[in-house]
């Protein structure tokens, strides 16, 4: 199978600071990949480069069919427009051809159909993130990028949202990349976990999606070990 996107020797320099150097990995269609690593390790930079919010300083990102896939980002803070209702927030980026029906359908898919006329300030933290997910799903994206979207939620809501996102992603067969610093979250949700270390070395660990709590814990432990090991002794996958 050809990858949907491939990062080839990707590098990013901010001023005199190298954020990424020669990063290489691929994401395949329908795959759920989690990117984990220490803070400042370059995870979010990779996401921003894939989303084309920034341009790489070196290397390139190759797309399947040489065409940029329809990509949508769900950010850590919901970034909803406070002056728009839930329905308007979902459809604000859609072109004229997109109907209100599609927006309502996206709201239904995240269980917010009865909140169509509510403003974001009238919603709870979990509802806001579900609304942000509906907005991302509205364009039928080929690639869904999740930038620590559950970081600000309480433990219970976070757990529910993990299951909910994974369920939606499976239903729609979305190719997804999740950025997270929570190794348990990565182990529970992802098919494959990519560990980014010091903005340059990339290691891979298989996820434990649908696994037992023990399997999830084992995978999380392995990921943590890779993160904490000095670079020289880490086993490159």
């Amino acid at each position: 199978m050809n990858p949907l996107i491939s990062l080839n020797n990707l590098g990013k320099i901010y001023g005199d600071k190298t954020a990424l150097h020669d990063v290489n990995f691929s994401i395949y269609p329908g795959e759920f990949v989690a990117l984990v690593g220490m803070s400042g390790g370059g995870k979010s930079t990779i996401l921003r480069l894939i989303a084309q919010l920034e341009q790489p300083s070196s290397g390139k990102i190759a797309y399947a069919g040489s065409r940029l896939p329809v990509t949508r980002v769900m950010f850590q803070n919901d970034r909803l427009l406070p002056w728009m209702t839930a329905l308007q927030n979902v459809s604000f980026h859609a072109h004229a051809a997109a109907t209100q029906k599609q927006a309502q359908s996206a709201l239904n898919s995240v269980g917010l159909s009865e909140f169509a006329d509510s403003f974001p300030s009238q919603l709870s933290g979990g509802q806001k993130q579900r609304l942000a997910l509906a907005r991302a799903l509205m364009a039928n994206p080929e690639l869904l990028l999740l930038d620590e979207p559950l970081g600000a939620l309480d433990a219970l809501t976070r757990r529910n949202m993990q299951q909910f996102i994974r369920q939606i992603v499976d239903e729609k067969h979305l190719t997804t990349m999740l950025i997270t610093h929570d190794v348990d979250e990565a182990a529970r949700m992802a098919d494959r976990i990519i560990v980014v270390k010091s903005g340059t070395n990339v290691y891979e660990v298989a996820g434990a999606k649908d696994g037992s709590p023990e399997e999830v814990a084992d995978v999380a432990q392995s990921v943590l070990a890779v993160i904490l090991q000095p670079d020289e002794s880490a086993v490159r996958a």
């Binding site: 989303a51 949508r72 980002v73 406070p82 002056w83 604000f92 403003f119 300030s121 009238q122």
Partner: protein
């Protein structure tokens, strides 16, 4: 539980008075009553401070002669035209400088220098250049309202959350869509603060300009009445200022509730 239900029914069956709506008028009404009592009881010299009833009678007489209507109309005309021109200029300049780095670099320093000149200090210059005609008063109102609207439009646009702008770009909005869906609605609350402040400045400027250099308008009516020690009319003019100020406040609040429904609903929930 039955008792509770009965009590509620009893309360709802009476005449419903919305005390909350009446509350803001309590102090003005009490002040007017006290004023009337003070004059009637002789605590105040009615030659210097006529009673509210006497002021009202004077207002009715001036209305019947057409003088009050004429002067209020001309003041309203000057205020509206001055506000429309000055407000539009302030808005366009604020928009330009908020959105364009080049425009900001070119004009902001100059605007900030002019902004710090008290606009009422321009009255002698305006009289010399434009006389005491309509253009003089309208120009002064223009200058008065321009800066509050400029500074608030500029600040509103510059204060837009960069994360929302980034989200808009990530979702493929072009520059025009970014403006109409993120920048303008995001800046609107601050712009409306400027509008509210500018409405106050508009009346202050007009009244001072009419008092100093005019042959019509409420300000002129007040200064003319002062010449003849016609205290009824002087106080009538002051009451009209207060009512016009309240009218401006109602206009500003209506605009806010129309444009900022999301803030009210959000606030009510918090």
């Amino acid at each position: 539980m039955e008792n509770v239900t009965t009590l509620r029914e009893t309360r709802n069956s009476g005449i419903h008075i919305n005390w909350h709506r009446l509350l803001p008028w309590v102090i003005p009404v009490v002040l007017i009553i006290l004023w009337q009592v003070a004059v009637t009881a002789g605590w105040l010299d009615s030659q210097l401070i006529p009673s509210p009833l006497s002021v009202l009678e004077d207002g009715v007489t001036l209305w019947q002669t057409g003088e009050l209507e004429k002067n209020v109309s001309i003041s309203l005309f000057r205020a509206t035209v001055g506000f429309a021109i000055g407000g539009s200029l302030g808005f366009v300049l604020g928009l330009m400088n908020g959105l364009s780095k080049v425009a900001r670099g070119l004009t902001d320093t100059t605007i900030q220098m002019f902004r710090n000149i008290p606009h009422l200090s321009l009255i002698p210059l305006v009289i010399i250049l434009l006389g005491i005609g309509e253009s003089a008063k309208i120009s002064l109102v223009c200058v008065g309202v321009l800066f509050p609207i400029y500074i608030n439009t500029y600040s509103g646009i510059r204060g837009i959350d960069p994360e929302l702008m980034e989200m808009g770009r990530a979702y493929g909005l072009n520059r025009r869509q970014l403006f109409s869906k993120i920048v303008f609605p995001g800046a609107l609350p601050t712009i409306l603060v400027g509008v509210r402040y500018a409405l106050g400045v508009m009346w202050t400027t007009l009244i001072v300009a009419e008092t100093i250099s005019s042959n019509s308008g409420i300000g002129y009516m007040a200064s003319n009445a002062q010449e003849f020690m016609d205290m009824d009319t002087v106080l009538l003019c002051i009451v009209i200022y207060a009512l016009l100020g309240k009218l401006s406040d109602i206009i500003a609040k209506t605009l806010e509730s129309l444009c900022l429904e999301w803030q009210e609903k959000g606030g009510a929930n918090q």
